[in-house]
Symmetry: C2
Subunit: 347 residues, 2 copies
DNA sequence: GTGAAAGCGCTAACAT
DNA sequence: ATGTTAGCGCTTTCAC
């Protein structure tokens, strides 16, 4: 296209555009000039076909409207853009089957590498292994997966779960609810393990009825949480507040909540409100969240915050290392970043 | 690749895969079978090159970690995915030059159409027109731009600005601050116009010193807001609260804030806290925001909410109409969706 | 019903 | 220093 306008061969134009030493300054001048005039940009797919690279990386996420994921994308974008690559984003909507289809599509040459955080439905990883077999490097972040030999970037979720729970215990909580959104997700199970360890470590019982799986939409989650909070508050109309004299002997009502993901913040607060439970008076709440407005909530929310942007960045960097040198072993390249506990009014 | 494995010509394989009538059931069977076995997916770029379509649409945004944009992407993704297209996301980081580079790149055949919300720095649209000239359809959403003849999808920002301001007036505010993040952005100027009209319409003066441009990071914004809120609070230590007897005669202190974008929520709340101003006692606050936790803030925030998901969807639908029939005139296809006022404690 | 051939827009090796 | 050629992986006429 440029070539015909200039009466030059495409080869010459191609070289001129890349400032090759074999082209005369004069021709380069002409080519550049014309390129500017025609606002010409080479078709990346044509070149990519030839070079067998797409220069794009695929991101697979369950959702975007979540402070953690939105920030993680920005972290990824920072390094991808710097490397001159592009970013293709696909959503699994927490569905295993959609995730499978996306990865299958990514095996077509559409992307040179994949960054992914797995769906809550997913508890199997054959689809990931299939992709790896096609030599498409994959780096998992946040919601990772043990049974696949590739790099993982996340926080130490077990430790974070421990820290969160211990914090509640130090605040006097004895019957602590753990709210999860999946029974298989790494973040859920790891954080749960930390929760268990903290309870056990402090001589408190771990009770199944305090481990709550919250699914469905926000309204359904709220109902699930209300139900859990109503435990041990005997009598037919068990929704009354506790007496004015603080916890009564034998009161089995939960007095603390570890919410394992940000999505649970609203349901938790609404459930407490509906039950007329005061936070932190009746129930103390800590949540894993990257919400920038956590400190503005009523009451201000104690959080475990993950370095979302940094996680995205680190994952992307690992991916590039793998794409740049084929012998780089992602299998032994995982990285763990620190999360931070920010204590606020809710505890 | 499949072809060689089957000893068939690529043409035959291609047709078989698309279930063409000219291929025998038997061969189709064999091809499908082998495709499954090898987990084969055709390279989309090769086909795209031939058909001169990329089947991907480009999204240009200033940021992702913002409730509105994150939701808008999900709306876009819903329709793009349904159409069998893919989504390439590029961030302008509010920079005009990055936006220009992205659009230039998008003129290469990388995308078949573009959805975009312009950067706060942008106040010129030649780059958009250049792209349109290359027959890449563009639909603007939310942060639109008047001087380019293409479709726009947004809310009625002038009306929303009016509604927000009138609401504050109805709550007794007389000295209302308008907080913007740009002097050229459509959302800023339109909402500002509504603000002016509401003031004028209710016999209140429009004062330049009440129209505040907030730039920089959250900390800088907070300082700007503090300064603005300190207006008319005379005396050397002008930071004290107002007297216990309510507004004094001649008090020039602002008593209301219209924050034109979500990013301003935190700075506004922090500024009020720093100045020991109570919301809504001393200052009433309304903000354009899609934060799911607005009702949990302290105090709960009165918001103007935009139908972000729907805006994304509508924009994508228009874009597809334009891509599907070349004679579809985007110039006269804009659409305006309703935003909603949710009154909470902050007013 | 199947194959051969051309071509999408580019790059890279190989002439000239 | 420039041009020619082949080929990336696919689709699509057009022959057979």
């Amino acid at each position: 296209m440029l070539a015909s306008a200039l009466n030059l061969s495409p080869g010459t134009v191609s070289k001129a555009l890349k400032d090759s030493y074999e082209i005369s300054a004069e021709t380069k001048q002409k080519v550049m000039e014309m390129a500017r005039r025609l606002d010409y940009v080479p078709n990346p797919y044509a070149g990519g076909l030839r070079k067998r690279k797409s220069k794009t990386i695929g991101i697979v996420l369950p959702v975007i409207s979540d402070s953690f994921f939105a920030l993680a994308i920005e972290g990824i974008e920072a390094v991808v853009h710097e490397k001159g690559y592009h970013v293709l984003i696909c959503l699994s909507h927490e569905r295993y089957l959609e995730e499978v289809n996306i990865l299958k599509d990514f095996g077509s040459g559409r992307v040179d590498g994949v960054l992914m955080s797995i769906a809550s439905e997913t508890c199997e990883s054959q689809h990931i292994r299939s992709l790896l077999e096609k030599d498409v490097p994959v780096v998992l972040f946040d919601r990772v997966c043990d049974d696949v030999k590739t790099a993982r970037v996340s926080t130490d979720d077990k430790e974070a779960g421990y820290t969160a729970t211990e914090h509640l215990i130090s605040r006097g909580c004895r019957r602590i609810l753990y709210l999860s959104i999946s029974e298989s997700l790494s973040i859920s199970t790891e954080r749960l393990q930390g929760y268990r360890q903290a309870l056990t470590g402090h001589g408190l019982p771990v009770e199944d009825k305090n481990i709550i799986l919250c699914t469905g939409n926000a309204e359904q989650m709220k109902r699930t949480i209300e139900e859990a909070l109503s435990q041990g508050r005997g009598g037919p109309n068990g929704h009354g507040h506790r007496g004015p004299n603080g916890p009564e002997r034998g009161d089995e009502r939960p007095d603390g909540i570890v919410a394992s993901v940000e999505k649970l913040v609203t349901p938790v607060y609404l459930a407490c409100k509906a039950l007329h439970l005061s936070i932190p008076g009746d129930v103390k709440v800590i949540c894993f969240s990257n919400m920038p407005q956590a400190s503005l909530l009523s009451p201000a929310l104690t959080t475990i915050t993950q370095p979302a942007f940094e996680i995205g960045k680190a994952a992307a960097c690992l991916l590039f290392k793998a794409m740049e040198k084929a012998d780089f072993d992602l299998g032994k390249a995982s990285s763990i970043l620190p999360s931070v506990l920010t204590i606020r009014e809710s505890t």
